[in-house]
Amino acid sequence: MFILAGLVALGGMPLLLPSYHLGIASEILIFSVLAMSVNLLAGYAGRTPLCHGAIFGTSTYVVIIAAAAGVPVWAACLLGVAAAGGLSVVFGIIAVRTSGVYFLLLTLALGLIIWGICLRWTGVTGGENGLRGDLRQGWLADPQRLYWLILGVGAVLTFAMWRLVRSPFGLTLRAIKDSPSRMAALGHDVPAHLFAAFVASGLFAGAAGALYALFNDFVSPTTVALPQSVEGLLMAIVGGVGSILGGLVGAFVLIALEQFVSAYTERWLSVLGLTAIAIMLFAPQGLLGLLQRKSQ
């Protein structure tokens, strides 16, 4: 019921908001999908990744490159998601046997490789200058329609992730998070489960990246850089690790805060940093976790 009301409210936004704010709303929706995909690993499988910005951005690059090569936009988006999936398979194979800080550092290094490639492979990626897309044509040129598209896709993806974490597979993941050794002793294939979760999470991040390509119509190495991964993780943490909707809350809070604070001070990055520290100290379960605790 709440979810339906929320969807109606979100769907009605374009009728109320001026175009700039609609752009911000679109961005929030896209980044909430990224944050949720991070949450899938960090919150349910107990593996905190720092490569999701790179997976997200790889999809963005592929969409823009493919569309420039004449591939229809919808097919380019699918290619982007597929590329993100392929990348996650590679990353997953390398990373799933590690945990804790090793997983963190390994995924960080893998993400940096992608960033390095995007920066140096000038002929394909445009290097530092990035690539300018030409995606916002015809049907997509209208910001309202683009918003509804993002909302629709975002809702489907959110539902898919919600189903995934509530499935037996999701339960197994949570058990692995609590005690990998016990799950292994019970006969569960821990690496296989983690690998599947990693790839699923990468696919969702890739879908967010494809939406970002439609929205931004531009990609440069900053889109695959470490701060992007950190931002996704931070959104997941601020919203609440271990709850899918936390991603939406985190994306909303961070992007809205950035917009609001940067309108008043040059030191908005400091304010964002302090806010993040405060949230981690006083609401370690994230804002959604705080709300749930209060309501109990």
Partner: protein, 408 residues
């Protein structure tokens, strides 16, 4: 970051003309106030605001309202800020940005909105070449490879025949070195080696050894910011200074670099449209005024935005300050020949939206008061972005990259 600076709102109503009832001219200025390019970004804002202060914040009877936004040296942020300025702030036109990727991102956005966008610092060649847009104009700016060509010509005339280049490994560097290499090679010189190092290289010693043994007559260095400082210091401390002449891109010996340096920077030769050490009276008046306001000599960034603002203001005056009419504004900007700018010489745009300048070959020398500055030693008249090449034929060759530095 949004700081609204409303300039000179208190003017006698009698001065107002009819069109001023439509409110102020709204300008969105984007500059990197945080991130890697922050120091240059501040000088962008200084130079831009200084111009509007000198004209009391009014153009043709209309007040000017400048909204400054921080692009954070990040193209995604720049895009977001451009959207905010255009869609929420309803600015009449956009100005600024420093890093090429931020400028390219914003250019792609204004391609859809049609908002005029002026880029006095963004040098990416293709913005006024292969992928130029009618509403993106490089007022008082230059394309990256524009001035390395006259420098290559000058170098050849000095008798240098074998050159090495060292540059930051990104597009801005590829383009400046490409301009140099292609011109120098076409004259009959040889580029023996090209070194590309990552941005923010902390230790230049490996390159110094290789440069010393490269057997070249001179070195061309394309560096910005802290890399420029470190390279110039390493060049002196490894004993190359005085042994192998050092030429630089204009940003390598820009005020933003040399104002904190000493003898190690003296003697570097570069080419640019602006030389703060010029004896021209208008240039000197500007330099003295800038020094008085900000206690430093103007850098490329401050100069460009002062002059870019002047360019658009002069154009607006010819159309009755009708900033709302984009086509008229753009046509006026393209038709304007800017006189009275700190350049001290008239300047106009080519058919592609890039200015044609008298280029100075400059040398870093010490002023009587001990400060370093770039003094002109030779002038190349009428240097455009294709200098010596036929535009259409030139644009059929690929853009410069690490792999393409002119046909070999």
């Amino acid at each position: 970051m949004k700081r609204r600076i409303v300039l000179a709102t208190l003017a006698a109503p009698a001065m107002l003309r009819a069109q001023s009832t439509s409110g102020p001219i709204k300008i969105g200025l984007m500059a990197p106030l945080t991130g890697v390019a922050a120091s240059g970004g501040r000088e962008i804002v200084e130079g831009f605001q200084m111009y509007f202060e000198t004209i009391n914040g009014r153009i043709g009877g209309r007040a000017v309202e400048v909204t400054v936004e921080d692009d954070a040296s990040n193209p995604d942020t720049a895009l977001q800020k451009a959207r905010r300025l255009v869609e929420q702030g309803n600015v009449h036109f956009l100005f600024g940005n420093l890093l090429a990727n931020t400028g390219l991102a914003v250019a792609n956005y204004v391609r859809g909105t049609g908002t005029p966008y002026f880029i006095p610092v963004i040098a990416a060649d293709d913005l006024t070449q292969r992928s130029r847009l009618p509403n993106v104009v490089r007022v008082a700016g230059y394309s990256a490879s524009q001035f390395s060509r006259p420098l290559a010509d000058w170098a050849y005339k000095q008798g240098y025949r074998r050159i090495a280049t060292i540059s930051q490994d990104y597009t801005f560097g590829h383009e400046q070195c490409g301009g140099f290499a292609q011109k120098f090679t076409s004259l009959g010189g040889r580029v023996l080696q090209q070194f590309w190092h990552p941005l923010n290289t902390s230790d230049f010693s490996p390159y110094m050894g290789q440069l010393a043994n490269a057997g070249v007559d001179a070195v061309f260095a394309m560096e910005t910011g802290a890399d420029a400082t470190r390279l110039i210091q390493a060049y002196a401390s490894f004993g190359l200074k005085g042994r192998i002449p050092l030429m630089g891109a204009m940003n390598a010996s820009d005020q933003s670099v040399i104002r904190t340096m000493g003898a190690e920077a003296e003697g570097i030769v570069s080419a640019a449209h602006f030389a703060e050490g010029s004896t021209n009276a208008i240039t000197q008046a500007f330099v003295a005024d800038y020094d008085r306001r900000f206690q430093k000599l103007p850098s490329l960034y401050g100069f460009s935005h002062f002059s870019g603002a002047m360019w658009v203001a002069e154009a607006l005056k010819t159309i009755g300050a009708d900033a709302e009419n984009r086509e008229r504004l753009l046509a006026a900007v393209r038709a304007t020949t800017l006189t009275g700018s700190p350049l001290g010489a008239p300047v106009s745009l080519d058919a592609y939206g890039n200015p044609v300048y008298d280029a100075f070959i400059r040398r870093v020398v010490r002023r009587p008061d001990g400060k370093l500055w770039n003094a002109p030693i030779e002038t190349y008249p009428r240097v455009d972005q294709f200098w010596g090449f036929e535009p259409e034929a030139y644009m059929r060759q690929p853009a410069y990259s690490r792999a393409f530095q002119g046909p070999r």
